[in-house]
């Protein structure tokens, strides 16, 4: 069941402009909040809405805001994570291209709630149109007094700066993103200290995903109860799912939290191409453990997927039809992670490369009987033993693919041997990776 909440403006002509946004009630909430709400009230409302982060980890947003020390004499910052690099995920791009003001208003409201005077939007460098539209929206907002000094005549002021990524997936990790904004190499930081205490320029910082913030104006407009009611008991609102892979209608779908996976694939995405059966689904973007065919009768929300040993992640549903080589699919994913590993941590730096080398040799038909266990072993040493979750993200697919489709990783041609799509990442093949 499609619900148009976040995407309500998407189909309107010129949906990215201020005029259209305002015509649909845009910035009404901002005016209301600045006139009559205290920042604490905003936080309370968001807390009651059960909004959880849409960047991947699903952390309750208001609780994250609450970690920012109230009494810090330092300036505070909010960083909008618009780096969207997770393979299979393309929801934030749509928000920025089709309704950038929703993100901008959400950013202003959240910044107000936390007591922030300077916000940064960190946009993936490849997102040219999204960047243009975001910058245009910010300019329009300044011109209308929604940004800058004394917003709408209130005593609250906020500046938003746009910062572009340079092509590295790891810069989507919140502390790497902070380093990158500081002009440094995008390397995740050791935590603690967490950004809420010591983030950008050493000051308290909140990093939130674009979609997370885009929900905030809606919550404050229609109320926490309404928002919570759209979702499940533990996570409120709708969710933007991006469905890709072997489906007839790949694309972006706004659905309530907890929508069954199969319903999503069959009803929204038009079923599997060629009427084939589903072999497996990666439910939440490349980092999430794969679900085999018998595990697909599942509701798509944070807790249910966690319980099933996978994750909702960023909502990027990748459908693999029968006949797909799981070896080739995993190799494709692992080449990505090997290429994107920042290289600080021994398990991630060395492990991802070794995994790729083993998978490549299995693909060449030179695999050994021990390879599946070695793969799992390497992955187990990566999971949870690295500075940032990328190591874990790279390990998750290895463990789940090899455990669930072990035959395909043994010597000799597997049931679904096929090309791995090397052309996507030729630069990481073998020796160099």
């Amino acid at each position: 069941m499609i619900v148009k909440v976040l995407t309500r403006n998407f189909d309107k002509p010129d949906s990215h402009t201020l005029a259209v946004y305002e015509a649909g009630g845009g910035y009404r909430t901002l005016r209301k909040v600045l006139e009559s709400w205290t920042p604490e009230q905003v936080v309370e409302e968001v807390k009651a809405s059960n909004l959880r982060g849409r960047g991947g980890a699903g952390f309750p947003t208001a609780i994250k805001w609450g970690f920012v020390p109230k009494d810090s004499p330092k300036p505070k910052y909010i960083c909008v994570n618009a780096d969207e690099g997770e393979p299979g995920t393309f929801k934030d791009r749509h928000i920025m291209e089709q309704d950038p003001h929703l993100m901008v208003e959400g950013t202003i409201l959240s910044a107000y709630a936390i007591g922030v005077q300077t916000a940064y939007i960190y946009i993936r460098g490849e997102f040219v149109l999204a960047g243009e539209r975001t910058e245009a929206a910010i300019a329009e907002a300044y011109a209308k007094g929604y940004l800058g000094e004394n917003i709408l005549g209130s005593s609250y002021s906020l500046d938003i700066h746009v910062h572009y990524g340079a092509g590295s997936y790891i810069c989507g990790e919140e502390t790497a993103l902070i380093e990158s904004i500081e002009g440094k190499k995008g390397w995740p930081r050791v935590k603690p200290p967490f950004p809420a205490v010591e983030g950008l320029f050493g000051c308290p910082t909140v990093v939130n995903n674009v979609e997370t913030l885009a929900n905030v104006p809606l919550i404050l407009d229609k109320g926490a109860a309404w928002f919570a009611g759209l979702g499940t008991e533990k996570s409120g609102g709708t969710k933007l799912f991006t469905i890709s892979g072997h489906v007839n209608r790949p694309g972006l779908y706004e659905l309530p939290m907890g929508t069954p996976l199969l319903e999503m694939i069959e009803e929204q995405a038009g079923g599997v191409t060629g009427g084939k059966k589903i072999k497996a689904v990666i439910p939440g973007g490349a980092s999430c453990p794969v679900l085999a065919a018998h595990e697909l009768d599942i509701k798509m929300d944070f807790n249910t997927l966690m319980a099933a040993g996978s994750m909702l992640g960023s909502g990027g549903v990748i459908v693999l039809a029968e006949g797909t080589s799981m070896l080739a699919a995993l190799l494709n994913l692992e080449r990505f992670f090997a290429h994107e590993s920042c290289g600080q941590c021994t398990p991630c730096r060395e492990g991802t490369r070794w995994i790729v080398q083993i998978l490549e040799r299995i693909e060449r038909g030179e695999g050994t009987a021990g390879d599946p266990d070695t793969l799992i072993d390497i992955a187990e040493h990566m999971a949870g033993r690295t500075v940032c979750p990328l190591g874990e993200a790279a390990a998750g697919p290895v463990k789940s693919f090899v455990k669930k489709f072990r035959d395909e990783f043994l010597p000799g041609p597997g049931p679904d041997a096929g090309p791995s799509g090397t052309e996507h990442h030729p630069q990481v093949a073998g020796q160099d990776g």
Binding site: S341, P347, D377
Partner: protein, 838 residues
């Protein structure tokens, strides 16, 4: 919390009390529990990347890194378990997977953390069965090779270069496995401190001078002190068969806390240099010929006695050494005073420390002198006429450490220096205006009648400062925070006219404001030589000559009453025909003193010249007797560093050839001259000296002589007078890579920087039609030198900067020989020159 700042942690079932605020690995190190590591190093910010230090913290399901997890009160930590063992072995397996395993020919083998840990864990799996990628060894640094294949990506080198050295020369390039730790174009310039070599846990960063000169276990290690600047860094000399093979810091020992500069690390090459003087020489028929010690000493004694007989004891002058040990200098002054019979005693400290000392002697009462550690802790640093980063690099590092903790550094200097380049603020004052600046500060901060003769506007105009700027400088010494201000002053102050008055005024400000001060000291034992009595008007411990009796009693020999001549007064006396002989111990005035021609003429007009040195220096070439002396590594003694810290050390290797320690030469010569010293060894010399003047106490014995208190009148000319024939102003600087003759013979320093470079503004270069590397002839009223140019847009237009110390282009040639009437120090900070393209 149990107790004040102590917490209790349980490690492997035992409860320990440790200071709060440590990480688990720090706590473990303190209680003696060993946790393996690659990337952690106490002095660096933690990285947490290598994942060797994994441990278990009760209540947390995943393994944690001990280096990044704070130890908390009540924490229960396990550092050894099956799970931990398995995880560490897995990490090692991954490290070894990519390693070239070429230990057979690795300089680091047997001193390698990767070898040690692999050995410790024993049964590590080696499942990696792909061909290893051959990574290159980089030789783009003349002194350090970077073997990329052996790198374990711990990034200690990157962090040490950035965090401690502040050079930012090494970057972790690219991303992931292809990351390479290397110097990249556009990165910081390597300062050849060698710290990246020390901290590398494996054989990835290596000392190129050491390459294949021996296995680590074949090295003997001897503790020594750096012979170059006044910091007095502790060195570990790695020797093999009596020759130095490489130099290291010794753990975190010494004032240098594990750091060294290029000179200390790579400047040892002179010690075993083939040109070292191995046998005494005397001049026979106009030729210097090698003789044995007996003949040389007899010859020297006979000739000195004859000159004393014929012309009186006043006709002999002596230069002790700002490089020699306290003991050698102590004996030298005793030799001059008791054996020769006069007080004509000086050294090259006259160019620096002596003038500062004169200023200090002008201030009664306590003035807090900063240590290097005080500088590390300082909140504000005010640097006047000094470039510690080049003259005293470890002091420079102390400043960097303070900056990292948030200290403000303000520099007042006419030059662009390494120090000014990373100061928070640089006031480019007019050349030669350090003294007026201090007087202006004194007018603001002290309430003294003598200063009323000056007008503020007049002073500010001389300095080229606006009054707000002066106020902001003075602000560094105001308020409660003044107690955490350290004032650093250098030769820009001490080599200026009325430098001593300026130092005295500065110290009065410092004392009044509760701040502290430190003078930069270019040569390792300037301070020790002065305190040992190598001064024409002061006895050991800086005792006044009126205190002679105390010394005579111990020495059993007479001390002349009449104050002696300082260095330039001796040179002038020689030119006037009054001084007939010089005894020069470990000094090279022809190169090091301003006005080369003047110095040469003075020395050649003497009848007899004794030079005691390591090399055939331009001064030694003129000698009638050359007595080969032992280098720092070949003798025992003590040096007194810029803080006044007295540091004894011992000989590490035997002297080359027949070279002898300075002190022994003096004892033997005294015996040949019939006034023999009784000492049988250096320890007896030290005991006698320390009994007479507990060296550490020497500062307390300061007797205010009031001389330098005299404030000059406003009519004094500070700074250059315009002269259209000589349109450029050349300012001298110091270089990391040179410090005296020895540094020119050290292959490591030659590799660090081969030749002198005249820095000038691109606009001036354009006017002259020269570009980087072109040669110019620089001419002053007194001399000329040829030097190649380096363009630097941070240099003020119309000024040139040239470092002292390079033998190929010696700026001292360009200077005159005027001395300050109070400090008797010659001026060699700035000189007007003209320049033409060659």
């Amino acid at each position: 919390m149990s107790g004040n700042n102590l917490i209790s942690v349980t490690v492997n079932d035992k409860v320990y009390q440790v200071p709060a605020g440590l990480s688990i690995i720090q706590a473990a190190d303190r209680i003696g529990v060993c946790i393996p590591r690659f990337c952690y190093l106490e002095k660096l910010s933690p990285l947490g990347g290598c994942r060797m230090c994994l441990i278990t913290v009760q209540g947390i399901p995943k393994l944690q890194t001990a280096c990044t997890t704070p130890a908390k009160d009540g924490m229960v930590v396990v550092t050894e378990s099956e799970e931990i063992d398995k995880a560490r072995k897995a990490t090692l397996e991954l490290q070894l997977a990519q390693h070239p395993l070429d230990c057979f020919h690795c300089d680091k083998a047997t001193r390698c953390d990767l070898q040690d840990l692999t050995y410790l864990f024993g049964d590590i799996q080696h499942r990696y069965d792909f061909p290893r990628k051959d990574l290159p060894t980089l030789y783009d640094n003349p002194l350090i090779e970077r073997n990329l294949g052996r790198c374990v990506h711990c990034e200690r080198c990157v962090r040490v270069c950035e965090e401690i050295q502040g050079a930012d020369a090494i970057s972790a390039t690219r991303r992931g496995r292809p990351t390479e730790m290397r110097e990249v174009p556009g990165g910081g310039e390597c300062q050849h401190c060698g710290h990246c070599v020390d901290v590398c846990p494996v054989g990835a960063n290596l000392d190129r001078l050491f390459s294949h000169r021996g296995r680590p276990f074949q090295m003997e290690e001897g503790l020594s002190l750096c012979p170059y600047c006044g910091c007095g860094c502790t060195l570990s000399l790695n020797t093999r068969e009596g020759r130095i093979m490489r130099v290291w810091p010794r753990g975190d020992e010494g004032v240098n806390h594990g750091s060294l500069c290029a000179r200390g690390r790579f400047g040892w090459g002179f010690v075993n240099h083939p040109e070292r003087l191995a046998r005494p020489r005397i001049k026979k028929n106009g030729q210097l010929v090698e003789v044995d010690w007996e003949e040389a000493l007899l010859f020297t004694a006979t000739r000195l006695e004859k000159i004393i007989r014929e012309h009186g004891p006043q006709s002999v002058g002596g230069l002790g050494s700002a490089r020699a040990t306290d003991e050698a200098n102590y004996l030298f002054q005793r030799f001059m005073r008791c054996v020769i019979g006069n007080n004509n005693i000086d050294s090259s400290a006259r160019l620096g420390y002596t003038a500062g000392l004169t200023g200090r002697l002008g201030v009664a009462g306590d003035v807090r002198e900063a240590t290097l550690d005080d500088v590390r802790r300082a909140a504000r640093l005010l640097v006047i006429g000094a470039d510690p980063v080049e003259t005293n690099p470890i002091l420079g590092l102390a400043m960097k450490a303070a900056i990292r903790k948030g200290a403000t550094v303000v520099v007042a200097d006419p030059r662009t220096t390494l120090t000014s380049r990373w100061a928070s603020q640089h006031f480019r004052i007019r050349p030669g205006s350090e003294v007026p600046l201090i007087l202006a500060l004194a007018r603001l901060l002290l309430n003294e009648r003598e200063l009323s003769a000056f007008k503020d506007a007049d002073l500010l105009a001389r300095i080229a400062l606006r009054s707000e700027e002066l106020a902001s400088l003075a602000g560094m010494l105001e308020g409660d925070a003044a107690e955490q201000t350290v004032v650093l002053a250098g030769r820009g102050v001490t080599q200026a006219p009325y430098g001593a008055s300026a130092v005295a005024a500065l110290l009065r400000i410092v004392a009044k404001r509760g701040a502290s001060y430190l003078l930069t000291v270019d040569r390792n034992n300037e301070r020790g030589s002065c305190e040992a009595g190598v001064l024409p008007d002061r006895l050991p411990g800086l005792a006044p000559l009126s205190d002679r009796e105390r010394f005579e009693k111990v020495w059993g020999q007479k001390v002349p009453e009449q104050p002696g001549l300082s260095a330039y007064e001796m040179l002038q006396a020689a030119r006037d025909g009054k001084q007939k002989a010089f005894y020069i111990m470990g000094e090279n005035p022809v190169d090091d003193f301003p006005d080369t021609r003047y110095v040469e003429e003075a020395l050649s007009s003497a009848e007899f010249l004794v030079v005691q040195d390591l090399f055939m220096t331009p001064t030694a070439v003129m000698a009638d007797v050359i007595l080969p002396s032992a280098s720092f590594a070949e003798k025992a003694g003590q040096f007194t560093n810029l803080e006044g810290r007295v540091q004894p050390y011992t000989a590490v290797i035997p002297p080359v050839g027949q070279a002898r320690p300075d002190a022994r030469i003096l004892v033997e010569l005294s015996r040949k001259m019939g006034k023999g010293f009784p000492h049988k060894n250096i320890v007896e010399v030290r005991e006698e000296m320390n009994n007479l003047v507990p060296m550490k106490e020497s500062q307390r014995q300061l007797a205010c002589n009031g001389l330098s208190h005299a404030v000059p009148g406003p009519e004094v000319q500070w700074g250059p007078v315009e002269d259209s024939d000589f349109p450029y102003l050349l300012l001298t600087t110091a270089s990391l890579y040179r410090n005296g003759a020895e540094s020119n013979l050290a292959v490591g320093l030659q590799k660090g920087q081969e030749r002198a470079a005249l820095r000038l503004h691109p606009a001036d270069a354009q006017g002259l039609g020269v570009s980087d590397g072109d040669s110019v002839m620089v001419t002053s009223k007194t001399g000329e030198i040829q030097v190649s140019v380096r363009l630097d847009d941070e240099i003020a237009p119309d000024t040139l900067q040239l470092a002292e110390g390079f033998s190929d282009a010696n700026p001292k040639t360009l200077f005159g020989h005027e001395i300050d009437p109070v400090t008797r120090t010659p001026m060699a900070r700035y000189v007007q020159v003209k320049m033409r393209k060659l």
